[in-house]
Amino acid sequence: MGQYLPIFAMLILAVVFAVVSRVISQLFAPRRPSVSKASPYECGIVPSKAPPERFPVKFFLVAMIFIVFDIEIIFLFPYSVVFRELGGFGIGAIVIFSAAVFESFVYLISNGALDWGPIKHLKQSDIVSPARTATTTIRRVGLEGRAAGKAA
C-alpha cells in the first residue's frame, strides 16, 4: 500500500490546485455580464444570423480516424509495462495487432483522406516539390527590356 502514497499525494495536490484556482478566480473576478459579452465573437462584427449547425462530414471522418489510432495506443500501454516478461511471444502479438491497424492507416493515406483542399491534385506536379527552392523558382531578367530613351 505504501508504495502508492506519492501517487495519492500528487492526485490530491492536483485536485486541490485545480479547485482552489477555479474558485478564487471565480470569486475575485469582477462580474459584469453584458449582451455583447454573450454574443459570439465575429472579429468585431455583431453577428446578424445564428451560426449554422450543419457541419460537413469531413470533420467527423478525421474524428473517426483519431479514435481508431487512439484505441491502438491504449492497447500498447499495458503491453509496454510487461513487455520484458512476455518476450518473443509478446512482440509477435503486438506486431500482428499493429500490422492490422497499420493496414487501415495505409488505406486511409492512399485514399487521400488526410489530404484536404487543392493540395491533393497538385502533389504530383512539380509545383509542390522539395527541388523547388526560393532561388530556383525565380529567374533574373536583366536590363535588355529597358527602353532606349527615357519614356515619358
Binding site: 470569486l27 475575485f28 462580474r31 455583447s36 459579452k37 455583431v46
Partner: protein
C-alpha cells in the same frame, strides 16, 4: 474600476470589490493588483501606422516582453488591454465598441498616437476625433507614430495606474447602493456614497 460604476452587493456578487478595505483584504488587494499589473495582455487592435510601431515595440530590439506584455491576444476574450493603435474611422467605430464590450473586466485602453487620441492631423468627416468618444481611455500616448520607447513609457504609466487603483471598498464610499433618481431628462443612476 472608477467610482462611476462601483460594484454593488457583497463578496459573493461582485468579488473583491464587495469587500470592505481592512488589514486582510488590503494585502490581498495589493497581491491582486500586482498580479494584474505585471501580466497585462494586449489585444491586437492595430489600425494604421501606429500598429507598425506597436509591432516594432513587440520586436526583439525594443522587446515589450520585459514588462510581461509581449503576448498579443487576438480575441478580446483573452485580452485585458486594448491598444487603439491608429486612426479610428467612422466605419470602424461600432466595431471598436463591440470589441471593447466583448473584453472581460478588468480591462484598460491605451489610445496610441495622436490620431486615436484626438483625430490628429485628419480633422475631417472620416475620422472619429478622439477614441474617448467611444471607449473610456486610460493612457493617451503622444506622437505620430509614437516611437516604441514612448509606448513603453505608456505601459509603465498604465502599470502605475493599476497599482494605484482601488479594488476593495474604502470606508468613505458607502455601501455602493445604486438608486434611480428622476433627473431632468429621465432617470439617472446615482450611487449613494460620500466621495
Amino acid at each position: 474600476m472608477s467610482s462611476e460604476t462601483r460594484a454593488t452587493g457583497g463578496f459573493l456578487e461582485s468579488g473583491l470589490e464587495g469587500l470592505q478595505h481592512n488589514f486582510f483584504t488590503g494585502t490581498l488587494e495589493e497581491l491582486v493588483k500586482w498580479a494584474r499589473a505585471h501580466s497585462v495582455m494586449p489585444a491586437t487592435f492595430g489600425l494604421a501606422c501606429c500598429a507598425i510601431e506597436m509591432m516594432a515595440a513587440g520586436g526583439p530590439h525594443y522587446d515589450m516582453a520585459r514588462y510581461g506584455m509581449e503576448v498579443f491576444r487576438a480575441s478580446p476574450r483573452q485580452a485585458d488591454l486594448m491598444i487603439v493603435a491608429g486612426r479610428v474611422s467612422q466605419k470602424m467605430a461600432p466595431v471598436l465598441r463591440q470589441i471593447y464590450d466583448q473584453m472581460m473586466e478588468p480591462k484598460w485602453v491605451i489610445s496610441m498616437g495622436v490620431c486615436a487620441s484626438s483625430g490628429g492631423m485628419f480633422n475631417n468627416y472620416a475620422i472619429v476625433q478622439g477614441v474617448d468618444q467611444i471607449v473610456p481611455v486610460d493612457v493617451y500616448v503622444p506622437g505620430c507614430p509614437p516611437s516604441p520607447e514612448t509606448l513603453m513609457h505608456a505601459f509603465l504609466a498604465l502599470h502605475q495606474q493599476i497599482r494605484d487603483g482601488h479594488l476593495t471598498r474604502r470606508p468613505g464610499e458607502g455601501a455602493g447602493i445604486v438608486l434611480e433618481q428622476l433627473g431632468a431628462n429621465g432617470s439617472v443612476p446615482v450611487t449613494l456614497s460620500r466621495s
